[in-house]
């Protein structure tokens, strides 16, 4: 077994060769013969009634093939929502129709009204300007609490109000939680905002629809994190195309961060229009369009309270959160503030009583859905800000207050009061590791040095828990998921021994082609270069659920392990035949099958060749060939955790925060490729720091997006961070998947925002600005200055 490409090796990412040389094949690189182009005319008002649409001038323009309106989609369904939440009174959520093109009303700036298909993109765009849309502007609802006020304008006229659901969790705990607050020695509370974000992957969304009239079959090329899910949702619920007539391909995808999980109107449009026009139809989002049509993330307003006894033990926690759904329910929107958020409210602590209330609200803004972390960053931010505030109010060390209330290593598996069971973890160990790497003991000396230069130095701590690999399917079904959450894999061994692996997960930056090959190489003992990983095409891959929620290795990797084990079992039987031994006596080591206790052996390619040229083969007992498929449905979530430390310097004159050091001590369970894990953590940290200090999606009171371009929406840049100290040596392997892995994709974005904000508050308090107990993200210089001087 070559050491450099098995499990545990920092094998270089094989896909980077094509990415870094500009040879990736992205959806926009796909140009089909006879392709036409679509431009969407989008609403420039947040709320309005469509009185009439005159497309006649546009249709007469050069190159225009057709102008579509909602009238062309009367036979089509709306974009479906994949999760139904039941509220605390037992009622299902309000679920409005989400049409492909606006029907009767426009409900957010960016809502598509018409689609112009023309020979060229420029012609389509020119023609869109000639469309006359008569819109009666209506008063929009932008602020969530205003949207729930009596008499507020309704985003959807056919719903009873703008309340999607009022969810309580665990509803039966509510009275006990309230009683605990009555008798608490201390109560600490905090009101905070989790700021709305725009994912902004480097590659904007693209869709190319193609139709083959001779086979009556459709192909959609799209920028998706889960092509099978798109095939199911679009085929079954929107366009009524059976799966065998619909192929969805998601080739190289340049980042998703959640925003490419969802089924979008533009995908359905291009698929449908290709059949109407008998020509391929392509759409490529501009960056400006992405801001007003990609699902946004976060956007919660929360009041959280913690009850403690006289000894500072946490006795109860309760929250009230308003979660913005935007104008329509995006694919998984209802699940984010509920099952991906409420179930994590125990954090790393033994808090015995917890009650979470979430009110999901429709507003005249872009739909909000999962964004890196999805619900878990919101939970972690609340808990870790509040625990920090509690330590400050009680006058105790924030590290010690956390340690005192941590679930201890001997308490796993640990049943939380919010349904989930943590299988493994060791929070004291990760905290110790972080403090050691941070040189926490030397902080005071560094602070004094900063003070000499007029700068305020602070150290912020956060400890997070997350739940990855959402599962099992039968449980999530009970919780309202309209999908299973297993993963698939097919392992096709070729005659000469090379291996083609087809995974239902999807790589859009995560490095699956490298990591998954390492797993298979390690299991069989062959060179990773003889293994190819395929993903993203529904025509050659068993039905898979795709990549999000840090699930690829924990769930998709486990499916690959399962299929590979089937391969090994069969290969051993073939080897046993060739070696004239019993299958149970066959050992596989370093790509060679041998009979235990003898020098008789046959190598891997000898067995694979026998499988496909079965001249000497037990045909009566065994089918020829060597190809196996497996579906893996996990029995539980995985629970990565970690301690994050952030050391900042704050300029009190300008309010500007510089991050000087950032330490991440994560427990991801077992690690397949440490280099890729570190890269994932780096990316997550930058996005979390971006949320904490810079990124903010802001609407004015008329629903116009004020931060609609990179001129006003601040993306973190390389020079905003100075490198990170990333450690993953604290390992408590996951107990219920074969690799013992937990997932690492979202951790950085989950744990870092509270660490950054806690550092800022720490710096201000150490400098005597004790009136500042909280600053809402992002902590821009202007906000920090205003907090100091407010």
């Amino acid at each position: 077994m070559p050491k450099d490409d098995g499990i545990g090796a920092s094998t270089k990412r094989r896909e980077d060769v094509r990415f870094l040389t500009g040879n990736g094949k992205y959806t926009d690189d796909i140009n089909l013969r006879g392709q036409a182009h679509v431009h969407f005319l989008r609403s420039d008002v947040a709320h309005g009634r469509i009185r009439g649409i005159d497309t006649s001038a546009a249709e007469a323009m050069d190159g225009v093939l057709k102008v579509f309106t909602s009238a062309d989609f009367e036979s089509a369904g709306g974009l479906p929502c994949g999760w139904q939440v039941t509220d605390r009174f037992g009622q299902v959520m309000q679920e409005p129709k989400h049409p492909i093109l606006a029907e009767g009303k426009v409900r957010h700036v960016g809502d598509p009204i018409c689609a112009v298909v023309a020979e060229t993109y420029e012609q389509a765009r020119d023609a869109a300007e000639a469309i006359e849309v008569d819109i009666e502007e209506l008063e929009p609802v932008i602020d969530m609490k205003s949207a729930l006020a009596d008499g507020a304008p309704k985003v959807h006229d056919d719903l009873t109000s703008n309340l999607c659901y009022d969810w309580g969790f665990v509803e039966d705990n509510k009275d006990a939680v309230n009683a605990a607050f009555e008798t608490a020695a201390h109560v600490v509370s905090l009101e905070l905002t989790n700021n709305r974000l725009v994912a902004n992957p480097m590659e904007p969304r693209v869709a190319v629809g193609d139709y083959d009239p001779w086979g009556d079959s459709h192909t959609l090329y799209t920028t998706s994190q889960n092509p099978h899910v798109i095939r199911l949702l679009m085929g079954a619920f929107v366009l009524n195309i059976p799966e065998h007539k619909l192929r969805v391909v998601a080739p190289d995808v340049g980042g998703g961060f959640g925003s490419k999980i969802f089924h979008y109107a533009e995908e359905a449009f291009c698929t449908y229009a290709a059949k109407v026009l008998k020509r391929p139809v392509k759409w490529t989002s501009s960056r400006s369009e992405a801001f007003i049509s990609d699902a946004h993330g976060r956007d919660h307003r929360t009041k959280i309270e913690l009850a403690l006894d006289a000894d500072h033990n946490f006795t109860a926690l309760r929250t009230e959160t308003y979660a913005n759904m935007g104008a329509y329910l995006s694919t998984f929107a209802p699940s984010i503030p509920t099952w991906l958020h409420g179930t994590l409210m125990a954090g790393n602590y033994r808090t015995p009583l917890i009650y979470v209330n979430v009110k999901a609200v429709f507003t005249n803004t872009v739909p909000v859905d999962a964004y890196r972390g999805a619900g878990r960053p919101e939970a972690t931010f609340q808990i870790e800000r509040l625990v920090d505030k509690a330590a400050r109010e009680l006058g105790v060390d924030p590290v010690e207050l956390r340690r005192q209330n941590f679930i201890t290593a001997d308490q796993f598996p640990y049943q939380t009061p919010v349904a989930v069971v943590y299988d493994t973890g060791n929070y004291h160990a990760t905290m110790d590791k972080m403090l050691e790497l941070a040189d926490y003991a030397g902080f005071e000396e560094r602070r004094a040095e900063s003070a000499k230069r007029g700068k305020l130095r602070g150290f912020g701590i956060a400890h997070y828990i997350e739940a990855c690999g959402i599962a099992p399917s039968n449980l999530v079904g009970q919780l309202g998921a309209r999908a299973g959450l297993y993963e698939s894999a097919s392992v096709r061994v070729n005659a000469t021994g090379s291996i083609s692996v087809y995974t239902g997960s999807h790589s859009h930056g995560q490095g699956h082609e490298t990591t998954f090959a390492q797993v298979v190489a390690d299991m069989i003992g062959v060179d990773a270069s003889s293994i190819e990983i395929h993903h993203g095409d529904t025509s050659n891959t068993p039905m898979g659920m795709g990549t999000y929620g840090s699930r690829s290795l924990a769930v998709g990797g486990s499916a690959i392990v399962k299929a590979t084990n089937k391969i090994i079992d069969k290969a051993k039987k073939i080897a046993a035949h060739l070696l004239e031994a019993a299958p149970e006596d066959i050992e596989l080591k370093d790509g060679k099958f041998s009979v235990a206790g003898t020098d008789k052996s046959v190598d891997w390619s000898g067995v694979t060749l026998a499988a496909y040229v079965p001249h000497n083969y037990p045909l009566e007992e065994l089918e020829p060939g060597l190809e196996e498929t497996a579906f893996y449905d996990p029995s539980n979530f995985t629970y990565p955790s970690g301690a994050y430390g952030c050391e900042i310097e704050l300029d009190p004159e300008t309010g500007k925060i510089d991050i000087l050091r950032f330490i991440a001590a994560d427990d991801f369970g077992n690690i397949v490729n440490p280099m890729i894990v570190e890269g994932q953590v780096h990316g997550g940290l930058v996005q979390g720091i971006g949320q904490a200090l810079m990124e903010n999606c802001v609407y004015d009171d008329q629903g116009q997006l004020l931060s609609g371009s990179f001129m006003d929406y601040t993306m973190p840049r390389a020079d905003d961070v100075r490198g990170f100290t990333v450690d993953h040596s604290c390992i408590t392997p996951c107990t219920h998947n074969p690799l013992g892995v937990k997932g690492c994709g979202e951790a950085g974005a989950i744990g870092s925002p509270p660490a950054v904000v806690n550092a800022a508050i720490d710096a201000l308090h150490r400098a005597g600005h004790t009136h500042v107990t909280h600053i809402d993200m992002p902590l821009t210089p202007a906000r920090v200055w205003a907090a100091i001087n407010g």
Binding site: K656, M694, P781, W785
Partner: protein, 262 residues
């Protein structure tokens, strides 16, 4: 972007003639004009490129005067003015990113007069002379509010003449997203006195802070303006900062510029 004609003259006279055509606009580095055309916010029939005109390019010194051709890029100013006028070169070296600095020009920036651009602070802060194809305009007369200048229709900036100060510096606080100046202050010390020009902060575009100029003219130290505060009236307020914050930053950046010029 709509279709347009592009002409690229090699002499100033040809450029002036081309600009007399209907709906023609001059194109220098295009760092503002091209994005606005891509967003379909601007649709000239004809673009007259000024970047092929040799007489509009280059940095030259004569005595205490530094003359910079209007079509000289920020990158070239950063490099070529470094020895003679380090305060200006440093300003040019902080504009945008390398791609912007290698395309954007000093003439383009001054003609556009974006209220958050850097160059207006240097031009007003030094009392530069804006030289056009028809006349010379003192900086004090040139800037007339955001995106508004003394330029007439069809008039082309050909060069900017700077009187080299004894000491100067530009202190810029970045708007976090665009990295334009949220507030930028250029201070320049001359034998005749000190000039202080502020960009990014005011709804009226670049302006001189008279109180600071008076204080610094008698004592060119940060302490001289310690008690001064710039009024917040007519300051820009947006999602990146309130009027009061910008007014506060004027004081902070002025002090930092004085220290840097020190």
């Amino acid at each position: 972007m709509y279709n347009f004609e592009l002409v690229k003259p090699s002499t100033l006279a040809e450029a002036v003639a081309a600009l007399a055509g209907e709906d023609a606009q001059p194109l220098s580095g295009g760092q503002t004009l091209i994005p606005s055309m891509k967003a379909r916010l601007n649709a000239p029939e004809t673009l007259v490129s000024l970047t092929g005109i040799a007489e509009l390019k280059g940095v030259s010194r004569s005595g205490d005067t530094l003359t910079i051709g209007a079509a000289t890029t920020h990158a070239d100013v950063a490099e070529q003015a470094a020895a003679d006028f380090p305060g200006l070169a440093a300003l040019a070296g902080q504009i945008g990113d390398p791609a912007v600095r290698n395309r954007g020009t000093i003439g383009g920036s001054l003609a556009n007069n974006d209220p958050s651009a850097c160059y207006p602070a240097a031009a007003l802060g030094t009392g530069a002379t804006i030289v056009t194809n028809t006349r010379e305009i003192a900086a004090d007369d040139y800037f007339q509010g955001m995106f508004t200048t003394a330029l007439e229709e069809g008039e082309i900036i050909t060069a900017v003449r700077f009187s080299i100060p004894q000491a100067s510096a530009y202190a810029k606080f970045l708007q976090p997203a665009s990295r334009f100046a949220l507030t930028g202050v250029f201070v320049a010390q001359y034998a005749s006195g000190v000039r202080v020009a502020v960009t990014g902060a005011s709804e009226n575009g670049v302006f001189r802070w008279a109180e600071a100029e008076a204080a610094l003219s008698s004592d060119f130290t940060p302490d001289a303006i310690a008690g001064l505060s710039c009024p917040a009236d007519e300051m820009i307020a947006d999602l990146h900062g309130s009027a009061a914050y910008r007014a506060h930053l004027v004081g902070v950046m002025t002090r930092r510029a004085v220290i840097a010029a020190g």
